[in-house]
């Protein structure tokens, strides 16, 4: 562990108050949650002011921390190791060893913090209008705020346990938010499903954390003085060459199962579309920057564990990349058969998460994280636009075929933002999605996963196509249903009802306030543009969807790669003793590193070889060189997707082309495929009808039957049996033998008694005489014996 003194460079990393105190960021909304719960209903804005204020506060803190982080990075040499700002406090202890809670702030947490705080702020502002007059307005804001607190806590988490805390808090809040209108059974079922599915994945989280803890703890305690829960410790341990391949592989797979559940990857993605039962702002928040990103974040957070455990770069295929690729395609395919606009977006989210996972699985860490960043903006924008449509134009319906069409004329702002975001999602140059998604596909190919690169390109084609279809159905063609001003008096028009079995009395009271508002506002006006509280967040998000890609615009040259510079952890071998945390006041740290390593262009061996003179906190990753030729290919594929889809949509939905309409009815193979898609690959049937139902009914009933009849039967049998035996014993042994003996002896005693009875004359004098006589005889005997 020696560092050659002559060539060392001392790197002083600046810090600041915001960086040092980033742990406060999740506390702000948590406190706001408590305030909303206790005082929300008495406030003039029914508690939403607490929520918005806390999110603004969190945003300010995050941006401050981001600014100071950039300062920290910019002040250091090009390739120097940037020490994250870690602080811990004792949270619990075991065997006298304190286990902490605290913060682990580095580029990744900073970027997610900002995104989460930012989107949450906009969604909350949007919700003040969207849910205006809702029956549980205050509770909605409370849940929304706690939800953000959970995500923020997970992002700043210093260790796995703290991460689990945030992770599960989000699960809870998603339950509350998806089931917000719980009077309707379908909504509460969707909420249950979401919680339950992610919880199934969480088995992996618990198991993986345990496995890694016990595998890593000794090493981390000895080398770094931190527990085996610590993210920093786990990262260094994974790359230290220390772990047995079984332990780290099992740990990584288990954790990835948790990520599958949370991030809606195949085969646990089924909860995500159902989660559309929640109010639209919830969908927007859930699907852009929080909840579903959590799984991706987990993988990115302790990437070295997955890097080593899944043998990324070292093999042609691994678990993450396969799951990611499958998810991209199957989700995109499902998006084609949806009529509910939110479900199209939901499957699109699943598909995009598949890209992120595939990127991570191929070692394209930075593009994947960048895709989280850009995706957050355009997906939030798309969802909010969908909400805007249902709020103001389609009479709370989300059905594209029945209640939309031709809306571009009525809703120019919504239409504009939607188009921008759609182009970003499809990955059209120069919108943000291009810079992130194309980079993922490019890097997947560069890392040697050629097949998966083609899957990515196929996904890009499908994305462009289904988004074009959705856009066409919504904004073009002739207005239909509610968009044409029709009323739904008969049928239940609540788009947030994710069920198909419309029940006749479904005019629910919880919706009543909401609906009443809707009726009053625009029943007689037909579709129109939404108010500023809705459109302004849309415009802001659309702007970012357009421009945020420029933060890491690889095609324009390396000076544009700011995201890489600020965010990507540098795969440096760092001497454990070479970091001085005590230096400086505001968490400044001095890192002593060999001079040669901190200069530009240096590539360490982290992730390839076992570090000998220190530890690695991140592997050295490969980066594909950008080539216009490759980009042109993907752009051409996207353009093809858009054009083909447009043509088909026009033919199918407006011209009613005879060849296309009813094709699925006529062709058996296509029909089967269509049914397969509409039924979501029958996964829901498998889960709900077969697995859950069998456990909930026959198996549990069986277990209970065993309980009542066998276990309890034994107890009762023992009781009855002993009672029977007791009866027999009583009758035969007690009454005959024992009691017989007793009776016999009694008879004998009685006989003897009758003989001596006359002695008992009842005369005191006689008794006295007997007494003295006996005493005299006794005395006589005594005298005789003694003499």
């Amino acid at each position: 562990m020696s560092v050659v003194a002559a060539e060392t460079a001392e790197v002083v990393l600046s810090s600041g108050w915001f960086l040092e105190n980033a742990f406060i960021i999740p506390i702000i909304p948590a406190v706001a949650f408590a305030l909303i719960i206790f005082f929300g209903k008495r406030m003039p804005m029914k508690g939403s002011e607490f929520g918005i204020a806390s999110m603004v506060g969190a945003l300010v803190m995050s941006v401050g921390a981001g600014y100071q982080w950039i300062q920290r990075v910019n002040g250091a040499p090009e390739e120097a190791y940037i020490e994250p700002i870690i602080r811990t406090w004792t949270w619990w202890q075991n065997g006298g060893i304190p286990l902490g809670i605290g913060q682990h702030i580095d580029g990744l947490s900073i970027v997610i913090l900002i995104v989460v705080a930012f989107i949450s702020t906009l969604v909350q502002i949007y919700s003040t209008e969207y849910l205006h007059g809702d029956r549980r307005y205050t509770h909605f804001f409370a849940s929304l705020t706690l939800f953000s607190a959970g995500m923020l806590n997970m992002v700043v988490a210093e260790n796995m346990i703290q991460l689990i805390l945030g992770w599960e808090l989000m699960g809870l809040c998603s339950f509350m938010l998806i089931g917000h209108w719980w009077e309707d059974g379908a909504n509460s079922r969707a909420a249950l499903k979401a919680f339950f599915t992610t919880r199934t994945g969480d088995i992996g989280l618990l198991v993986g954390t345990s496995v890694l803890y016990f595998a890593a703890n000794d090493w981390t305690q000895k080398t770094l003085g931190v527990s085996g829960f610590s993210i920093r410790g786990l990262s260094a341990w994974a790359l230290s060459g220390e772990p047995s391949s079984t332990a780290i592989t099992v740990g990584a797979v288990a954790l990835f199962i948790a990520a599958i559940g949370k991030s809606g990857q195949f085969p646990l993605h089924t909860w995500l579309p159902d989660a559309m039962a929640g109010p639209t702002p919830v969908s927007s928040l859930l699907h852009s920057s929080t909840m579903v990103v959590a799984g991706v974040f987990l993988v990115a957070r302790i990437f070295p564990v997955f890097y080593e455990g899944m043998n990324i770069y070292g093999s042609n295929v691994n678990f993450i990349i396969v799951i990611g690729a499958i998810t991209i395609v199957i989700a995109a395919a499902l998006a084609f058969v949806q009529t509910d606009i939110k479900k199209v977006l939901a499957y699109s989210t699943v598909s995009q998460l598949g890209y992120m996972m595939m990127g991570l699985g191929a070692g394209a860490w930075l593009p994947a994280v960048f895709h989280i960043f850009t995706h957050a903006f355009f997906k939030a924008c798309l969802f909010l636009a969908a909400g805007s449509i249902s709020h103001s134009a389609s009479h709370h319906s989300f059905d594209m075929k029945k209640d939309m069409g031709g809306l571009r004329k009525f809703m120019p702002i919504t239409f504009g933002t939607w188009i921008v975001s759609t182009l970003a999602l499809a990955g059209v140059f120069p919108f943000s999605g291009f810079f992130s998604k194309d980079e993922i596909i490019d890097n997947v190919g560069y890392a040697g996963y050629t097949i998966f690169m083609w899957v990515g390109l196929l996904g890009a084609f499908m994305t462009a196509a289904y988004m074009t279809r959705a856009t066409y159905l919504t904004f073009f063609g002739a207005p239909r249903g509610a968009a044409a001003g029709e009323h739904h008096d008969e049928h239940d028009a609540h788009g947030h009802d994710a069920h198909d079995d419309h029940d006749a009395h479904a005019t629910h009271d919880a919706h009543a306030a909401h609906d009443a508002h809707g009726h009053d506002a625009h029943a007689s006006h037909g579709p129109r543009e939404s108010g500023p509280l809705i459109t302004i967040p849309l415009i802001i998000l659309a702007t970012l969807a357009m421009g945020s890609g420029l933060l890491n615009a690889v095609p324009f040259g390396s000076e544009w790669e700011n995201f890489k510079k600020w965010i990507e952890p540098r795969g440096q071998v760092v001497s454990v003793t070479g970091i001085d945390h005590s230096a400086g006041s505001h968490g400044e740290s001095r890192v002593i590193q060999p001079e040669a390593r901190v200069t530009a262009g240096y590539e360490s061996d982290c992730g390839k070889k076992t570090p000998t003179d220190g530890v690695c906190y991140a592997p050295q990753l490969k980066h594909a060189k950008f080539k216009w030729s490759k980009a042109a290919l993907s752009l051409a594929i996207v353009a093809a997707g858009i054009i083909i889809s447009w043509f088909v949509s026009v033919q199918l939905y407006t011209r009613r082309n005879k060849v296309l309409v009813g094709l699925t009815q006529r062709n058996k193979l296509l029909g089967a495929g269509y049914a397969f898609l509409v039924n979501k690959y029958y996964l829901d049937v498998l889960y709900e009808k077969i697995i859950v139902r069998s456990i909930a009914y026959p198996i549990s009933r069986g277990a209970y039957w065993i309980n009542q009849n066998i276990l309890d039967g034994i107890v009762n049998g023992a009781g009855t049996g002993s009672k029977t035996i007791a009866g027999w014993v009583y009758r035969n042994i007690d009454q005959r033998v024992v009691d017989g003996a007793v009776n016999k002896s009694g008879d004998a005693a009685q006989g003897a008694g009758s003989i001596v009875r006359p002695v008992q004359s009842g005369k005191v004098n006689q008794y006295g005489a007997l007494l003295f006589g006996a005493a005299a005889i006794g005395a006589l005997v005594l005298v005789i014996i003694n003499t």
Binding site: Q93, L165, L169, V207, I695, G702, N707, D712, G719
Partner: protein, 524 residues
Amino acid sequence: MEVLSDNNWVLTVGTFLPLVGVLIMLFIPKADEALAKAVAIITAAATLAVGIFTLVKFDYDKADQMQFVAEAEWISVIKSSYFIGLDGISLPLYFLSMVITLLVMIYSWNHVPSPGNAKAFFALMLILQTGMAGTFIARDLVLFFVFFELVLLPMYFMIGVWGGENRQYASLKFFLYTMFGSALMLVAFLALFFQTGAESFSIPYLIEEGINIPKNTQIWIFAGMFIGFAVKVPMFPFHTWLPDAHTQAPTQGSVILAAILLKLGTYGFVRIAIPILPEAAKEWAPWIGLLAVIGIIYGALGCLAQTDMKRLIAFSSVAHMGYVMLGISTLTEFGMNAAMFGMVAHGLITGMLFFIAGSVKERYHTLEIKRLSGLLVQVPKLGWILGFSAMASLGLPGLAGFWGEFPAILSAYQPAEGLPVGVFRTYMVIAAIGTVFAAAYLLWLYQRTAFGEPTAEFSSGHGHDHGHGHGDDDAHSDIHDVNKFEWIAWTPLLIAIVVFGVYPQLMFKVLDPAVGVTLKAFGG
């Protein structure tokens, strides 16, 4: 043993003060119910005050040692002494018993179950309190046994007199089953006594001497204790008394049963069986672990099959105590800490759930899940508290339940040396699957009872603002939201669930050192 503090009167006073209260209550005429209740509550409050004093005077830096030790001759013929003391393991449970008793009494102020007779009801609770607190401080096996059995009788009467329709059966089953276990336990104690040379019943002495008992003998003695404690826990397959007892017991009885009584069994394992007979514990641990994980899954399945809310909660106890026993069976500090934390957390959370079940029963006169729906509509606050408790019960991080569950699962990955690692890792995965089941039955319960609209039979009347209240308003006048006494009784529990969930170190700090001492024989 060094006497660490001169305040060694506090334990005696804290334990027997309730009996003084009972004596005073004997002189109160039966008709004067308010006075009897007041005396009982004041006694319980005074006991709690002594408990708080104990809490303040407890030396937290020496949580691994016995404090407030008092030793006096008691039954010298059998070498048993009045030997009491408190360490980090006892303290939380000892204090919890006091808190729960007081809260239950406050709740009972206007919830005396039929057939009334508040005086007797409150007096029984006080006697119960003495028995529970005494068990946690006893350092002598005979004393432990006496307190352990003292608990039985009041509970028998509570179920048998104030219980539901099937109370006779349930109370008798409870009594006989636990007596059966106790008898074997007593035999084990006596065997232990004679095997160590018939010198003393004092636990510290036995811990020193117990190691010298031949292994085969240890295993048999452990078996006796195992059955005694396992019935009380209750572990699969000795659990069948529990659902009946819980279902038939009055709310107060259920709360005390769940919150404290079940812990007597697990406490016995931690305090007596394992430290005294380490060799046997190692032999038994895989089997205990097996029964524990069976209990987890089986309890959860039992829950899923229930149609009665209270019975469901009772079955959930089987599952939760399974986690506690799994933690104990690992014989590691992680597991033991988790188990101890789990006991307190389960006490708080399940106690809370039974309170809620009692209040629902009082309002709706039924606990049929099918007939209950839309609690959130009619009694929103009660509904929210139910949701909160359900979330706590399923082990949501940030609430107390998590810290009993997760470390227990974690610990099973690496059990103490000499235990079969592969087997325990299998247990770990099964236990982790159990968390999903826990989520399933609790949320399913919540979804069915709290969500949706109230069923037709309860939907008219007041308590909800649905506008179509054309029904007879008096028909459901019982349906009202959380009342004053309920708030007073519940708030401390709810706060404790959050506080221990957010900052578990409060309890781990006390438990951890003491657990280390308990596991000395395992090199922990």
